[in-house]
């Protein structure tokens, strides 16, 4: 094998004054080899994205590479004048971004945007350019390339847009492809297709790929080499098999151990009292439509039925647009369902009006997805925790005393009660959100993707906490997630949703062992890194 195509030596990237550390990246060494995928793995704030941007020359203003070299084809990229770096971009090195909607210009057709790369870097005539674009769109397996060429970004699905982005980056056969979380914004089935595509194309074009990700499942799926970063430092690097099978560094072990296993948990003894019985739940969204035209109807939920026993966790699994969030919102009655019953321990709350509903609100509470939007930035934690019980008629002193207990219950110190939400990290905020829901002493907890915005190590802690609290308080939980790994660890039973319908439901272990519905099978086949079992050494590291 030849030498590295990209050789990063001793790279340091400084942050502007006032940041929480002086260097985003310190003395990083990293190599990219032709025809290989190097995964850079790390949690948020590890400096992995800035490394990618330093390679491309896209560092934000006030952030500079202060030390080190990035050698590419015998030249140090950091020492090149801006004009020469510009000529390299798009031609010899290309980048795929995370969010394909914002990475494409919404006012330009896809074909025109890809053509721009050719206009900048080649003298091909219009016919040659068009042929080349069509051939490439075909290569990235876009259906009907002729239609895609003249389509605007909003006319394509997320997966199609990402394919178009990949086509744009590959059009001049770059030697280096930098992909910054290219599948994070995509659904799991689409993610699987895109990963397969990147693997194939990279094989064919023999490019060196730098793949930035936080997801060890994705790493296990496509990496040849792995570099693990933490707080701007390289923790460990080596061949994929070695890092995944026998990680040396403590941090790598803990990261791998935090990846939820795909082996479902044993179902707990059921047979408790029925807490929640949902039958025939339906919700239709109507959009558009004026005086004379009929509004467009979308069935967000159709004939959804399930039941939940006391102390049980039911997972609702599905991709975006499957209706799982709509169901969650109907359960807590943020939305009024159009049909069906929601029987909460004997009372049907589906049709209740605002006033009639108020005394029952307390009994079903929700934990939200976004730790940054779910807490009022202008209220102190103490107020956030106490206002629910006070609204329900508890004396204020009692409610404030209780908020201290709640903070300890979710693993925070009682003295943080006087702080504002912005003083907490994402994981801590999610704990506060959980405490707020528990403050009302609910019987059913609806958790809508409660850990999907968190780093994997924090995710594991929050899941553990939720499980612990569920046991201690005897809560029934409806757990909405798109992540089958999380579902396997948390849920006693799961229901799989697709386009508003529950296509399959049953005990988690049964569904995982023998999925019946074709869509469920497709979902399982798409889980990144499903063939990889984290090594025992990593588990041992956590047990310690």
């Amino acid at each position: 094998m030849s030498g590295p195509i990209l050789d990063i030596r001793g790279l340091s990237i400084s942050l502007p004054g006032g940041a929480d550390r002086a260097h985003a990246v310190s003395r990083l060494d990293l190599e990219l080899h032709p025809g290989e995928i190097t995964c850079v793995v790390g949690e948020s704030g590890s400096g992995k994205s800035l490394t990618a941007r330093a390679v491309m020359g896209l560092l934000p203003p006030q952030v500079h590479a202060t030390e080190g070299t990035i050698m590419f084809e015998g030249r140090d990229l950091l020492a090149l004048p801006p004009e020469e770096r510009r000529l390299l971009r798009g031609d010899r090195m290309a980048m795929i971004f995370q969010e394909p909607m914002t990475a494409l210009n919404p006012l330009m057709t896809v074909g025109r945007q890809i053509e721009e790369v050719l206009l900048v870097h080649t003298d091909l005539d219009a016919v040659a350019r068009r042929d080349r674009i069509l051939a490439l769109l075909d290569e990235v397996q876009l259906p009907d390339p002729r239609r895609v060429v003249s389509a605007f970004p909003h006319e394509l699905s997320g997966g199609q847009r990402q394919r178009a982005m990949i086509a744009m980056s590959l059009i001049l056969d770059p030697k280096i492809l930098v992909a910054d979380e290219p599948t994070t914004a995509l659904d799991v089935t689409t993610q699987a297709q895109i990963l397969r595509l990147i693997r194939q194309l990279q094989d064919r074009h023999q490019a060196g790929v730098m793949f930035i990700t936080h997801d060890f499942g994705v790493v296990a799926e496509i990496a040849d080499h792995i570099a693990v970063m933490q707080h701007g430092l390289l923790v460990e690097s080596g061949p994929a098999a070695q890092i995944l099978g026998d990680p040396q560094a403590e941090y790598t072990r803990s990261l791998i151990a935090a990846v939820p296993s795909l082996t479902p948990r044993a179902a707990r003894a059921g047979g408790g009292r029925r807490m929640l019985e949902v039958s025939g739940l339906g919700k239709i969204y109507r959009s558009g439509g004026g005086l004379f035209s009929k509004p467009a109807e979308t069935h967000a939920a159709r004939d959804v039925s399930f039941s939940l026993a006391r102390g049980e966790t039911l997972g609702i699994v599905g991709e975006s647009g499957s209706g799982k969030t709509t169901v969650a919102r109907c359960l807590v009655r943020l939305l009024k369902p159009d049909s069906g019953r929601i029987d909460l321990d004997g009372i049907d709350i589906a049709g209740l009006g605002k006033r009639a509903l108020r005394p029952h609100r307390r009994r079903v509470q929700m934990v939200f997805q976004d730790p940054f939007a779910s807490l009022n930035p202008r209220r102190r934690v103490r107020e956030i925790l106490a206002e629910g019980p006070i609204t329900q008629g508890k004396p204020p002193e009692e409610a404030h005393a209780r908020s201290a207990e709640l903070l300890e219950l979710v693993g925070l110190e009682a003295r943080v009660a006087d702080r504002f939400p912005h003083e907490f990290s994402g994981g801590q905020r999610q704990r506060i959100g959980l405490a707020r829901a528990l403050a009302l002493e609910p019987e059913v907890l609806v958790a809508d993707e409660p850990v999907s915005a968190l780093d994997v190590s924090v995710q594991a802690q929050v899941l553990e906490l939720m499980d612990d609290i569920r046991v201690r308080l005897g809560l029934s939980v409806v757990f909405i997630t798109h992540d089958l790994r999380v579902a396997a660890q948390v849920c006693d039973r799961i229901a799989v949703m697709q386009r508003g319908l529950i296509v399959e439901q049953g005990l988690t272990a049964d569904v995982f062992a023998d999925p019946q519905h074709p869509y469920t099978r497709e979902l399982f086949a798409s889980i990144p890194g499903r063939d990889w079992t984290p090594p025992e050494t990593a588990r041992a590291a956590v047990a310690r």
Partner: protein
């Protein structure tokens, strides 16, 4: 816990950080200084010029610095400096009160429209549009003419023509905030709507309201001056606009009668605008970085 929280000191620096960001805008500091002088003069007016500003103090049309007049006298021999000091009280009072009324009305209308949406929003916004389609100054003249010129009616007129933009601003903020998850959590607590609107959402859109409100004060002072200039101000209250109006017929013989009150109007409005700009920078720091 492996995840680290930002330091708690960040919150305690809040107050001083506001002033640091405000002071970064030099023009805003100058504006604040001018405004400070105006406020000082207004506060000290009864001590500097204890006499009624309408009393005849000496010979008419005395130029500045003569006959004991700092800024000269007008066509009836009234002291211009005294009138300006008392006029500053009028201008500031009307500006602040009219703005306060407009902000309260606008915030309630916009908040209710943004929070409830649907037909409530439609109805309130159509009403707002009715007010916005009428040229505001002509509307204000009309209102004062119908209601008879008095300080209260001038304030009402200014407030009535000033609230629609605020209602639109607050409505926009409410629409973006009302679907935040923390508001939904409050709904799940069984919290009443008015409590969510006032206690939970409103504090989150105070910054834009304060900025818009500070600029409204300047507009209110301008409208008041213009009304007084046209003779539609309260005849028993001295104001800058009235002084300019009284001097316009002798503009070529006695330039000082119009000039000094006119300058006072200009400087005060400019100062308030600069301060508003500075508040915008200080309260919406992200906007500033984007444009820098």
């Amino acid at each position: 816990m492996t995840d680290v929280a930002p330091s708690p000191a960040a919150a305690r620096r809040g107050g001083s950080a506001f002033w640091r960001r405000f002071a970064r805008n030099r023009a805003a500091v100058v504006g604040l200084a001018i405004l400070g002088v105006v406020v000082l003069v207004a506060a000290l007016a009864p001590f500097l010029y204890p006499q009624d500003p309408f009393t005849i103090a000496g010979r008419p049309l005395t130029p500045p610095l003569q006959g004991g007049f700092l800024l000269g006298s007008d066509t009836l021999g009234r002291d211009i400096a005294s009138g300006m000091a008392h006029g500053a009280r009028t201008s500031l009072m009307i500006g602040l009160v009219a703005t306060a009324v407009a902000v309260v009305v606008g915030a309630v209308m916009g908040g209710v429209a943004g929070f409830y949406g649907g037909w409530v929003d439609d109805a309130l916004m159509r009403l707002t549009e009715v007010f916005q389609t009428i040229p505001s100054f002509i509307f204000a003249i009309l209102l004062v003419a119908i209601l008879s010129p008095s300080i209260l009616n001038v304030i009402i007129a200014i407030a009535v023509v000033s609230w629609p933009p605020l209602a639109r601003l607050v409505r926009g903020e409410f629409i973006s905030l009302r679907n935040r998850e923390f508001v939904q959590a409050n709904v799940l607590m069984g919290m009443s709507d008015w409590r969510i609107i006032l206690v939970q959402i409103l504090p989150n859109c105070l910054s834009p309201i304060i900025v818009a409100g500070s600029l409204l004060v300047a507009t209110a002072i301008l409208i008041e001056s213009a009304l007084a200039f046209l003779g539609l101000g309260d005849p028993n209250v001295m104001s800058w606009g009235f002084q300019v109006g009284a001097g316009r017929s002798v503009l070529r013989r006695a330039w000082w009668i119009c000039t000094f009150p006119g300058l006072a109007i200009m400087l005060t409005v400019l100062a308030i605008n600069l301060v508003g700009e500075g508040m915008n920078d200080a309260l919406n720091p992200r906007l500033r970085e984007r444009s820098a």
